[in-house]
């Protein structure tokens, strides 16, 4: 699956793999809502992702705002592929989770 959710006592990890595009957008939205509902820290794991499209970016951006409103910690885990960061920046997008990444070990 391109989008998976792992829940533990410490928080939720949304794992993204392959292309995060319109084809998986509905699933990503569902997973993000579910993760935020838990009220536990949410971490996004990009390591297996090969690309992120605009639908993926805006979902993550909206999820981050939602987390802010709800006072839920929302962060990305270290290890975002450079190609994704570059592609997103290239498009002038306000990519969410540009804040300091959490080390992978904390997941």
């Amino acid at each position: 699956l391109a989008v998976t959710l792992e829940q533990s006592d410490q928080g939720c990890t949304v794992r993204l793999e392959g292309e995060i595009n319109i084809g998986v957008a509905a699933e990503l939205k569902k997973v993000l809502i579910e993760a935020l509902k838990s009220k536990k820290p949410v971490r996004i794991e990009f390591e297996g992702a090969t690309g992120v499209g605009v639908t993926g970016v805006q979902l993550l951006w909206a999820a981050e705002r939602e987390a802010e409103r709800a006072g839920v910690k929302f962060a990305r885990m270290a290890g975002m592929p450079q190609a994704i960061a570059a592609a997103v920046a290239e498009a002038g997008l306000e990519f969410p989770m540009m804040m300091a990444a959490e080390p992978a070990a904390t997941a």
Partner: protein
């Protein structure tokens, strides 16, 4: 890439390819037409760009080379020649194959690319071009041209993502024009719960520094121009400054959004909801043009497209349901009459009125102009003329004439056969035309016009015409007619349509009409149409197809014989007259009636269908126009006109030619819909089979069926 996006692309691309083909053929006629060159270039650019976007990399790579060639034409470095057009048309065939995924890179592709390289002096292999597109190199701009800044505002509309388009790829392509600074606006992104995951809410305000013209910039968005908000304006200093200041910053506060234009200030979320098209119409700077302009006129409410694409199967289902409604309405009408309740009658009449309007509307939905069917023959004529070394000018008239889509769908093949025959056998080579004192370039005229409930389609050429005597001799030789048969010229020409007549090689030498005419006849008859041929030796031939407007519902005349009901198409019915016992006696038992001095043969349907009920004193003859002249069909009673919803009888009855379908009457009983044309043919054939026929039957005259 999901199938639905891929299919959407394929559908769009097929249309673009068809337009491109026409533009190339038109360019062949007027090689200096700059606008046409632009049209060709933009169409190729769209196919390339959208192909890459939808994962058709080979198609994109191949088209890239073709696009480059036309870029050279656009820049005046390459001339439009017959060779370039033919090469481009061949390339278009390859593109069609790639689009349908029936062909990929191969010998033919490489040969075309090699020819393109030879013509343009540059180019790449398909694979290299595909890789180049994927790598998004910087687009070469006109060397030495001064650059300028453009403010580009691109806000994808609600439906953009669902077409499979990717805004990021468009931005990448824009970047190829040289230098791009941009700011993405997230202001319209709604809260997560309200967000439509398959829609793009992000918009971009950009400053593009390029030597490219406005046209080249708007070409980047050509595939999405009608589903996004797009403005391209020369930059004012403050706009550039605003973009530069904000570029690269992460601003989450929507209130802090910069406003490049007054319109941009409206980009806050609640204002972003209305469709982009509405704002597009207000902006003078919108680079909206091209093939879709007619789709969304000022009347398009809320910016929604005025036209929508509906699968043909859904349309058929709708028409079927209307058909069912017509049937039920007829039952209701009959019930209301029986009950004699004024309230019920009033409701039944209202429903009848509405049903009639609905039926008309549904029929109109099915109607399509013949234009696309006609226009695609330009390519056929072009290719055949080239192959046959003939010069042919195709003219088209009445292309806006509308016909039922089912009829149109089945019309292409017979028309193609007729055009092929005309080009192959009717039209002479230029030298032959010169000897005959004709212009070297032959004329082929394709026309359509309404004629009552029918459409007449004409295929006329100014070729050598048909030698009637040669056709007659050939028909006698093949035992299609007796040596002493008295035939009119029209009857002789109609022999060309007989099966087997045109299979011999010599036919081409004899008559100028060749293979496939019997196929044409069968196809046209399957559409309940007729064919008429007129020709003058040395002057040319005109083939006229008469086709019904629709195959789904017809206006019929309901008749009764005993307890059986039949429907005769109203369009072919001329009049109704009485047939008394005295009339029958006066004709000495022959099945002919004297109608105001004209002897009309008739078929007694009671006998034909072996209906063994008592014959009334006075019967009715429905006189109809058929291919073989006027014929009568004798019935017990004419009940009146009837909106007839045609139901197929199914495979079991597919060989029963005299019946074109059935319909359900208001009382629930079934009435067969008769095909007068076929009835006459069958009657003549039956007569011949019993050995009582004589050669006059070929003319379909009265006595041939009279003694049945």
């Amino acid at each position: 890439m999901t199938d639905k996006y891929k299919q959407a692309f394929q559908e769009e691309a097929r249309e673009i390819v068809a337009e491109l083909e026409l533009a190339l053929l038109a360019l062949n006629e007027t090689p200096e037409d700059r606008e046409l060159v632009g049209r060709v270039f933009r169409a190729m650019h769209t196919i390339k760009g959208s192909g890459a976007m939808f994962g058709f990399d080979e198609l994109a790579g191949f088209t890239h080379n073709l696009e480059n060639a036309f870029d050279e034409v656009r820049n005046g470095r390459l001339k439009v020649t017959g060779e370039l057009i033919n090469l481009s048309l061949g390339a278009l065939d390859q593109i069609k194959g790639m689009l349908e995924e029936t062909s990929g890179p191969g010998e033919k592709t490489e040969r075309i690319l090699a020819d393109l390289r030879r013509l343009t002096g540059k180019g790449e292999t398909a694979t290299a071009a595909a890789a180049a597109i994927a790598a998004v190199p910087e687009t070469p701009t006109v060397a030495g041209s001064p650059t300028r800044d453009w403010v580009v505002r691109f806000y994808p509309g609600p439906g953009l993502m669902r077409t499979g388009a990717d805004p990021l790829l468009l931005l990448r392509e824009l970047k190829r024009l040289r230098s791009l600074r941009m700011k993405a606006s997230m202001a319209a992104v709604p809260p997560l719960n309200e967000l439509d995951a398959e829609r793009c809410y992000i918009g971009w305000d950009m400053v593009l520094t390029t030597a490219a013209e406005r046209q080249a910039i708007s070409d980047v968005f050509i595939f999405v121009e009608d589903i996004c908000e797009l403005t391209i304006e020369p930059a004012a200093a403050e706009s550039r400054g605003a973009i530069d200041e904000d570029a690269g910053k992460n601003k989450r506060d929507a209130a802090a959004e910069i406003a490049l234009t007054p319109v941009a200030a409206e980009a806050a979320r609640k204002d972003a909801e209305p469709a982009a098209g509405q704002r597009e119409q207000n902006s003078p700077a919108i680079a909206s043009r091209g093939r879709r302009e007619t789709d969304s006129g000022p009347g398009a409410a809320g910016g929604a497209a005025a036209n929508i694409r509906v699968p043909a199967a859904r349309l058929d289902q709708f028409v079927d349901l209307v058909g069912e409604l017509v049937t039920v309405q007829a039952r209701l009408g009959e019930l209301a009459m029986r009950r004699e309740d004024p309230d019920v009658v009033a409701v039944a009449e209202e429903i009848e009125r509405l049903t009639s309007a609905l039926r008309e509307s549904s029929m109109n939905i099915r109607m399509m102009p013949l234009r696309s069917t006609f226009e695609k023959f330009r390519r056929l004529v072009h290719d055949l003329a080239r192959d046959l070394h003939k010069e042919v000018e195709l003219t088209i008239e009445g292309a806006d004439t509308e016909l039922d889509k089912t009829v149109i769908d089945q019309l292409s093949d017979p028309l193609m056969h007729l055009i092929r025959n005309s080009m192959d056998h009717g039209i002479e080579a230029p030298e032959g035309r010169g000897t005959a004192g004709k212009r070297g370039t032959a004329k082929l005229h394709l026309s359509a016009k309404h004629s009552g409930a029918s459409v007449l389609i004409g295929i006329a050429d100014d070729g050598r015409g048909i030698d009637a005597q040669a056709v007659r001799e050939r028909a006698i030789e093949r035992k299609l007619v007796a040596p002493d048969a008295q035939l009119t010229e029209a009857e002789i020409f109609s022999l060309i349509l007989a099966p087997g007549f045109s299979t011999a090689k010599t036919i081409t030498d004899v008559s100028g009409r060749g293979v496939g005419m019997d196929v044409v006849k069968r196809s046209v008859e399957a559409l309940r149409g007729t064919i008429e041929i007129a020709s003058k030796p040395g002057a040319g031939t005109t083939v006229t197809l008469k086709l019904p407007l629709t195959l789904a519902i017809i206006d019929g005349l309901l008749v009764r014989i005993g307890e059986a009901y039949f429907v005769l198409p109203l369009a072919s019915t001329l009049e109704c007259i009485e047939l008394t016992r005295q009339d029958i006696e006066r004709a000495n038992g022959k099945h002919v009636a004297n109608v105001r001095g004209e002897i009309i043969p008739y078929i007694r349907l009671r006998e034909y269908f072996d209906i063994r009920t008592e014959r009334p004193e006075i019967e009715q003859i429905m006189v109809a126009e058929t291919e073989g002249g006027r014929y009568g069909f004798v019935v017990d009673q004419v009940l009146g006109d009837h909106q007839t919803v045609i139901k197929n009888l199914g495979r079991l009855y597919r060989h029963v030619n005299i019946v074109s379908g059935a319909t359900i009457l208001g009382n629930g009983s079934v009435a067969l819909i008769l095909d007068p044309q076929r009835l006459v043919q069958e009657a003549v054939r039956d007569r011949a089979a019993t050995g009582r026929a004589n050669n006059r039957e070929i003319k379909g005259r009265a006595h041939a069926v009279g003694a049945k």
